[in-house]
């Protein structure tokens, strides 16, 4: 079931020059949300945006009906949202899309994120912990100043890092990290969200080592709930909507 709810901003914490975390509280009971699902957020009082903006659910607290969004400022919509203050209201259509699939018992998971793609991985990490699976994170960034929310991830499991300039962790891209260099991977599933290029490399890696890989796509969307067919990605079964058949897909299913 999808809902349209008004939330109130209870907190807006700036992470660095381009990321903020918004905490939002709802007067209604928030429905069960699967990690990887997203919200279509209305941007009010912006002169140049028209459509809602899709944003992943970053964290959820069912006890007090609140949730968090991790927002990277890239254009007018995300800038407007990043500048909301305590007490401002925000309207969301949610929870949307198919999230990451239920973990298996013998699962050893690697969660790989880059850019705003780290957003759904925190909520996913918590969910895995609840299912007695210890997540390991591999996070890629341009430079150490772009790494955010590390403490939250470290609370849940090991965090490995690559930076393009080598200012923290291993120098290079995610695929250069030693955890992806071993003969035989010591994990059997990859969950990833981030730049297309990164996810394509990981899906090739997963195919080569015959392990599962779930990727979360960030296609342009107009509606977010399957009504317009604007957000398609080519799959083994033809065009599928990233908003209802995804955003999370088994990488084998995609025609990459």
């Amino acid at each position: 079931m999808k809902y349209i709810h008004d939330f109130t901003v209870t907190d807006n914490i700036r992470q660095n020059h381009e990321f903020v975390v918004l905490t939002l509280k709802c007067d209604s009971t928030i429905p069960e949300i699967v990690p990887g699902q997203f919200a279509e957020v209305r941007v009010d009082n912006a002169s140049n945006t028209f459509l809602r903006r899709p944003l992943s659910i970053h964290d959820v607290n069912y006890n007090n009906n609140s949730l968090k969004l991790l927002i990277q400022e890239v254009g007018e919509g995300t800038k407007k949202l990043s500048n909301l203050n305590k007490g401002d209201s925000i309207n969301m259509v949610y929870p949307l899309g198919k999230g990451f699939t239920k973990p298996l018992n013998d699962q050893k998971s690697l969660l790989v994120g880059g850019g705003c793609g780290v957003a759904p991985l925190l909520f996913l990490g918590r969910y895995l912990v609840k299912n007695n699976i210890t997540p390991r994170f591999l996070i890629g960034a341009k430079s150490s100043k772009d790494l955010i929310r590390l403490d939250e991830y470290r609370d849940l499991g090991e965090v490995m890092i690559t930076t393009e300039d080598g200012s923290e962790g291993v120098k290079g891209f995610i695929i250069h990290h030693p955890v992806l260099k071993t003969e035989k991977p010591d994990f059997n599933i990859i969950y990833t969200c981030g730049p297309d290029g990164m996810m394509r490399v990981l899906s090739k890696y997963a195919a080569k080592h015959n392990i599962d890989c779930q990727v979360s796509l960030e296609n342009n969307m107009a509606c977010g709930f399957g009504a317009c067919l604007c957000c398609v990605t080519p799959t083994q079964q033809g065009h599928k909507c990233t908003c209802i058949d995804g955003p999370v897909f088994d990488s084998k299913y995609l025609k990459w």
Partner: protein, 304 residues
Amino acid sequence: MVDLSVNLGNNLVLKNPVMTASGTYGYGTEYADFIDINQLGGIVVKGTTLTKREGNPYPRMAETPKGMLNAVGLQNVGVDSFIETIYPKIKDFNTNMLVNVSGSTVEEYVETARKINSLDNIPGIELNISCPNVKEGGMAFGTSCPSAIAVTKAVRDVYKKHLMVKLSPNVTDITEIAKGVEGAGADSVSLINTIMGMAIDIESQNPKLSTITGGLSGPCIKPVALRMVWQTANAINIPVVGMGGISSVSDAIEFILAGASAIEIGTANFIDPEITIKVIDGIEAYLCEKGCKSIGEITGALKI
């Protein structure tokens, strides 16, 4: 109580003038979590063609000031699949489910319409001779008077229920086409489909759509749509269904005053999935306030 019902002719009676626009409302079920879709005057489902179509490659959408461009290109399951798998799920909704029919050749339109004619719970079709997003045909039928007449006549011969013809704004004089399809046997016309447009990403210097050009919709097209609805309503005697950028109660009332017997809401549903119900309630409130007993009292009531 005011009477909101609208008779569009040939057994198509709407309980209120608010319908949803093809390609923006899926098969209706996509909105069932948000509103009671049975309250709508009608739902026009996705553009349907004789055979399955994959549509155009991604990217298919670009946001523009107060609107959006789309280049979906009639992605749909094809009429046989529609009849087998989708029709059973939507046939019992308590509203008028209209099928938007598209094609590349006259034969394709005719065959698709013939198949839909056999479906008891589909009271009408909206003949889409105005899609700007497919190379072969589509809009080509709606931009020349002889071909618009030819396809309407051919479909009229096999399709006995309500035949609404959807007009393209990408023409010099929309009233000529409207008169042509009226003469060819259309029961009503709907307008406007999207306006051809384009957008460029100046960083990459690429077009924002895979097809380079696409169809513009949303509030930015409203004044153009309203003008065309007014011109068309004054030129023909069959009912006009108006659309193009309707996003509020007052937008809807403007179209009705300009001569639209009913309206369709498209793109606005993406931003507010409850907009249709708000517009229905708002029209009723407006009629009460103006002391009208029925919607017909304001249809075409523009004072000049």
